[in-house]
């Protein structure tokens, strides 16, 4: 896996950290998923089943899930941008620092290149960072997709690829989780009038 490709998909995740609007975050993760899907098809393993699996994943993660999230954004309009988050420069600095630290500390994962090792770890870490730094429920759902794209990148860089049933199973589980997250987001929005997850802070000991 080329260094340039890894840099591009990681940069897209970093862009989500600083994106102001939810629609922009959804579009960015869609582009990232499509990039990974196209990579899977182009660098396929020469087997029709692998091509089919790659196609299903491309449609599912690159098109259907982002469309679902875009629909969710339309159905849960925010009266204003969710305020109070860290400034964009601070967010990206924190995200980059945490990601660089994780990438530097992680030993070899045995994938097809060191860049792939680092890219997979970077995306999983950035997925978590997005969920922590961004308060909107939609951003946190986008964080799921970014982290899962990190897992997908690792699968693409695994010599021989992963078994098809695991790849499709992971996609199925992801669809369920995102659908449930969307149901929660709508209900949270109905109940509180906003998708800002900081309103969910009543349960403490």
């Amino acid at each position: 896996m080329s260094v340039l490709f890894v840099i591009v998909v990681t940069a897209l995740a970093l862009a989500i950290v600083v994106a102001r609007r939810r629609t922009a975050a959804v579009a960015l993760v869609a582009v990232q998923s499509v990039a990974l899907g196209v990579y899977a098809l182009v660098h396929g393993f020469g087997e029709s089943s692998a091509f089919l699996v790659g196609g299903v994943l491309l449609v599912g993660k690159g098109i259907l899930l982002p469309l679902g999230l875009a629909w969710l954004v339309r159905r849960t309009r925010e009266p204003r941008l969710i305020a109070g988050e860290l400034p964009p420069l601070t967010r990206v600095t924190v995200a980059a620092a945490i990601t660089l630290a994780a990438v530097a500390l992680i030993p070899s994962l045995g994938l097809d290149s060191r860049a792939a090792d680092q890219g997979a770890v970077a995306l999983v870490v950035l997925g978590v960072v997005i969920a922590v730094l961004r308060r909107s429920a939609v951003f946190q759902a986008v964080g799921f997709l970014v982290a899962e794209n990190g897992v997908y990148l690792a699968a693409l860089a695994a010599p021989g690829g992963l078994p098809a049933i695991v790849e499709i199973g992971v996609l199925f589980d992801l669809v369920i989780v995102v659908a449930v997250a969307a149901a929660f987001t709508r209900r949270i929005h109905d109940e509180f009038g906003t998708g800002d997850t900081t309103v969910l802070g009543s349960l403490r000991d």
Binding site: G110, G160, L200, D205
Partner: protein
Amino acid sequence: MTEALVIAAPACALLTGAATWLARTARQADLLNSAGAVLTALLTLALAGIALTDASHPRHGAWWMLDAAGGVFLAVIAVIGLLSALVAPSQLASSGRGLVRAARGRGMYYAAYHTFWAALIVVPLVDNLGLAWLLVEATTGASALLVAYSGTRGALEAGWKYLVLTTFGLAIAMLGIIVLYVAIAPGDGTLGTLDWQSIARAAPGLRGGPAVVAFVLIVAGLATKVGWAPVHNWLPDAHSEAPPPVSALLSAALLPTVVLVTWRVLIALGPALTPGTASALVLAFGLVSLAVAVPFLWRSMAWKRLLAYSSLEHMGILAVGIGFATPLATAGVVVHVAGHALAKSLGFYAAAPLLRHAPRAHDRAVRGLAFANPSTAGAVGVSLGALAAMPPSPLFISELLILLGGVAAHEIAVTVAAALLLALGFLGLAQALVDGLVGEPRVRRWRSGRSGVRMRRLTLVCGTLLLALTAVACLLPGSGVVTHLMAGIA
């Protein structure tokens, strides 16, 4: 025959879920739920019976296996799943506005419940780490909906927190599984590469970085789903906000089932690491969980939150037990899984009438329950007494076995630390028991009628099973079953 049961048990749960979803009335849904639950439990118990009566001959299929360890967990999942399904109609009756429209609420609850139960039944049966991950992840969506079923703000918060934390945790575990897959079979792996036995066969040749990274990522990721500290933040909220039957299934079946997956990873992959490294990570999770739980057991807590922190404590004990990995500790783990399941689920079932008649018990500790309602007080007393490991609770025997197992493993420092934390936890729960039953009453007396009869029956069933388990616990150490359980993997 066995293969037919392996398919029939989860299929029955799934079909029951679909049928209840399509039911036209709440009464139809209740009847279908009860009938389907009885059949699912019987099929699952038959599997457990096959596994435990002939423990020396594990059975294998194309994608499944049935061994002694799986048999124990299947029995627990069957019993708790059945009890939670049977008590659901009465415990859901008082629910108000829910997560979905009231007309669909009951059907949605049963559909999600039986889907969740079906996934739980298959986890101990699958002979593959990748498939086990898929099933554990599959429990997340259905169980998150169930946690938020009441639709209250607290339930939404708890469900969201559970969904977010466990999803990210499992993504990390999947990254570890990919690393393991590549390490075992670089370039020519198949689904069978992740079979438990394949991992165990390959482990001794896997020495080095990728094996350590894979183990740490998988165990740390699964820890979020078990609710081991310090990645347990969702656990107290989800257990306290979910409907009581769901809290019971989460605490008594889901958490131990994920512990089983971790246990199998430890046994299969542990030999790839420097001796002691793998168990040290699990022991660390166990001790940290105990240390985090104990201070909360000393505080004056609302009933369901007290039970939730008790779950954290007991998952910590299980981690310590599987970390010791000696025959005594293994016998203790098995007894503990079953005893904790019965005692904890009874406690959660008692929460339904308690919260219906004393809603403030949702937010603050219950006191003087013996004066308010003897039926509920009986259930609370049996539950908390057993969870505190007061003799003749089987948890007293299991904790003793685990600690003796620690001595046998020459893990003296860990054993002493665990014993101290368990003693402190006992004192906290004993105080809660005394205050809860005979403290200055905070709740008004209520007449329970039919629900009181149901609660007394439940208490009798769970109490009898707990005593039977105590007898089994005394016979288990040194038996052949433990030898087969020690294998952990067929």
